[in-house]
Amino acid sequence: MNQPATLTDAYLDLAGSVTRTPDQVKRSRNLGIAYFVLAVVTLFVFARGDGGTSTFGLGGDSTFGVPSIPLAWICAVSFAALGGVQISRGTGRWQSALIAAAALLFVFTLMAWAAAGKQFSLTGTLHDALKASTPLVFGALGGIMCERSGIINIAIEGLLLAGAFTSAVVGSVVNIWVGILAAMVVSGLLALMLAWLAIRFHVDQVIVGFAINFFVLGVTSFIDSRVLTRNPEYNGTGTISQWKVPGLHRLPIVGPILFEQTFYVYVALGLVAFIAWALFKTKWGLQTRAVGEHPTAAGTLGIDVLRRRYINVTLAGAISGFGGSWWTADVGRFNENITNGRGFIALAVVLVGRHHPVGALMAALVFGFADALALKFSFLNTGIPSEFLELAPFLVTLVVVASVGRGARVPAALGQPYEEQ
């Protein structure tokens, strides 16, 4: 389909006058139904009760108020309208933009409902969202590096956990910085093992990843209960505190969100930019992608496919290990299974972000936001049972992955063993 040349074309597009395949029509209908469901939910949950003005804080003393019930009505009506258009004609090339807008509106209404008659620090929540998404970003970057070179990485959880454990133990014995370095080494080695088993012994990559996850869980739990609980001197590093970026943290709104974080956030953002650049603008990136898409083609041009894979997977492990140390820096110690499934969410982040660092950052922010929001809600006394708040990030993951679904293209040679004779 071509770009619409004029506004009229764009409108016709919106009105669904282009041929739509049956598949597209079906999708469009499902999406429309989803809008209607949201409209009903909004109406029956958010537009009821006492309501009141929700006061959103923007850092410092600046605030703004929103009446929660009228907002819910606006939201419900827009969803219903959107659903109608979506079912009857489809929304053409505006579809994605409209989904994003609708999602934002829904979340905003949700927040307004939760905070009706109360204070809600918007900047605080966004700050926490960014913070919560940091380990996901590291996990996902590890996943991307690995999968772009053709090796499936479902071991992110295990690599993060190993990083958390190592940094806590080594960090307690020496100091946290050496601990972080050790975490990178250990997770790098674990990832190298993954690569070695997958490449050299053709072990199914989903199974190796699975086994590594549970091996790490087993070993860390075993040592935790056998050694750490009885020798607390091996488990206690102290936390790493935030570093306010001079000058920048005074900026309104973005200051408190972006520039009052620990160095992990800054490293994460830098690494996203760097890996995005490296993947698409350098020789290394071209070869890495070639190896993941069509290893035999790369091999016939004299590229050492296996070496490239070993190196990339090991680096990926090191990045995940660094991400794992985030927990130690945040909590100051190791607890059994401290990563609690975040590595699996990072796995979803890789897919939803379409194996692109920037896409992954966006996806991680969404999940981090779900995390932060759940935490926030538990303080706001919304009446939502805490168990539901706990499961929210996982449910969000499921819903987001389902709606991206088949759209996600993966490197063509992902998971297939490459053989040299």
Binding site: T21, L286, A290, A298, L301, G302
Partner: protein
């Protein structure tokens, strides 16, 4: 430069792909390496290219022994290869594919795209390849993709160039153009290895012909002194019938009627463009066309494997437009799929299980819930015998059989019942000559038993040998409907290339 392969042996599990093979390649000449499918031609060349490692034997460059650990070494020694299955990254551009591995870079390993673009454009112009460096490979037709492969080889300045079955994907006219490129490469002093199993082509272009049979060199031939029949006998090891033996067709009523068939991909791109045709009982209609012009999708649409956007499909008056593969099967339609390993067989299943793969739900083999394995096994035993499937037993996993025998399992399963329509896609791709003859005979038998037959093949020779009527597909449309006896390879080739079109009657 002179390259010599001496005493090369290569074993794969269960197969000796090359058995003490000797071969010499010289600059400035074209060596044709012929042999039927599975003879070991690709394996030999992959060894020369450093992709495989020989179990025994030695390679010499200008008399010096050399070892190629990897393709990198072979490239450095001046060897280039255009593989049978193209080695192109589909999501990369032409330029990216060409410079891969020898990228021009700036500081920090940054890709110098501008330089890559210019270099690629320059060589493309120099050899008249007419390639756009920024085009995405996945959007290029196979004929153009082949030129990208050639460009890759030239970019690395190869002195010896190996072409592995390069003509399989081309139209007759494109083959002529390809031969011109080969001539110009030869004129520039390069040595060429041209792999093929099409003997006319070998006779036409080669300076020397080397014949490989079951992994062994059976001899050399001088194209000036040998004819096709003798060469074919050398290649197969026995006299070969070069034409399919069949009576003139006796078409009866229309069986398959396709009207205004329209198929699109999930993004809405048209794959089969409002196609109309009819196949009568008792005739074989061949569909010719370069790979990727909608034939695959046409067959999928006819057999219920792909959603139809518009138009209708009828078999003997029964509407099958929106039917499932199961319903198509039950309407007495047989389907021999184009890729036996991908979809025709379950490699891990036994021959017996594969013999009932599409028929297990028939009353004969099950009551709807339970399988009747005794009947299935006895049927399989009968079919193995009847269709000459060479297998140790019916309990052998089908994946371990040779390509020809795998294909015979499918043919036996699909053709051994009363049929109205047979749809055969690439029925002999990658099988040995004996199996080809056998399968062609079975297809003719099905016709003579009164079924309508639709044969889809990208091998023009196969279509011309089997068909009573020839349809040509180009860009999703049927651009020609020709009686076999009134057309020629050349004419069909022009239609295949889109250079000619019939006015709709």
């Amino acid at each position: 430069m002179e390259l010599e392969l001496r005493g090369i042996t290569k074993r794969f599990p269960g197969v000796v792909a090359n058995d003490d093979v000797n071969l010499t390649i010289r600059s400035g000449e074209v060596l044709a390496l012929v042999g039927e499918n599975g003879a070991g031609k690709s394996t030999l060349m992959n060894i020369l290219y450093g992709l495989y490692h020989a179990d025994e034997g030695q390679i010499y460059v200008d008399g010096e022994p050399v070892t190629f650990e990897s393709p990198g070494d072979a490239i450095a020694a001046g060897i280039g290869m255009v593989h049978q299955h193209f080695m192109l990254v589909p999501v990369f551009t032409v330029a990216e594919n060409v410079v891969l591995g020898v990228e021009p870079t700036g500081p920090l390993g940054r890709l110098d795209r501008a330089k890559a673009h210019d270099q690629v454009e320059e060589i493309s112009a120099q050899y008249g390849l007419h390639l756009d460096p920024e085009a995405l490979i996945e959007q290029l037709p196979v004929g153009i993709q082949q030129r990208v492969e050639i460009l890759k080889v030239l970019f690395r300045d190869a002195k010896i160039v190996v072409f592995d079955e390069p003509t399989a994907v081309l139209t007759p006219q494109e083959i002529e153009e390809f031969f011109k490129i080969v001539e110009s490469l030869k004129a520039s002093g390069r040595g060429i290895v041209f792999i093929t199993h099409k003997l006319t082509e070998a006779l036409r272009i080669a300076d020397r012909i080397s014949v490989l049979r079951r992994g062994q060199t059976v001899g050399e031939a001088d194209p000036a002194e040998i004819d096709e029949v003798a060469l074919a006998e050398m290649m197969v090891g026995r006299p070969v019938q070069l034409v399919v033996d069949k009576e003139p067709a006796q078409p009866r009523d229309a069986t398959l009627q396709v009207r205004d068939l329209h198929v699109v991909d999930p993004t809405g791109r048209t794959l089969v463009d409002h196609v109309d045709f009819t196949v009568h009982a008792g005739e074989i209609v061949g569909v010719a066309g370069v790979q990727g012009n909608g034939q695959t999708e046409l067959v999928e649409a006819l057999t219920g494997l792909r959603e139809i956007l518009g138009g209708s499909v009828q078999v003997d008056g029964v509407d099958l437009t929106d039917s499932s593969p199961r319903e198509v099967h039950q309407a007495a339609v047989a389907h021999i799929p184009e890729d036996r390993q991908r979809s025709g067989l379950v490699g891990a299943f036994t021959v017996a299980e594969n013999m009932v793969l599409t028929r297990y739900h028939d009353d004969q083999f099950s009551d709807g819930i339970r399988m009747d394995w005794d009947t299935a096994r006895s049927t399989a035993t009968t079919l193995v015998e009847q269709y000459d499937v060479r297998t140790p037993s019916i309990a052998t996993p089908a994946g371990t059989l040779s390509g020809g025998n795998q294909q015979k399992v499918i043919v036996a399963r699909e053709l051994s019942r009363d049929l109205r329509l047979v749809i055969a896609s690439q029925p002999t791709r990658g099988v040995d000559v004996g199996s080809i003859e056998y399968i062609h005979a079975q297809v003719v038998l099905a016709r003579d038993a009164g079924a309508a037959v639709l044969v889809v093949s990208t091998e023009l020779d196969e279509v011309m040998a089997l068909a009573d009527r020839v349809l040509v597909m180009y860009r999703g449309r049927i651009v020609a409907d020709l009686a076999r006896d009134e057309t020629t390879h050349n004419e069909v080739g022009l239609y295949m290339a889109g250079a000619k079109q019939q006015e709709p009657a």
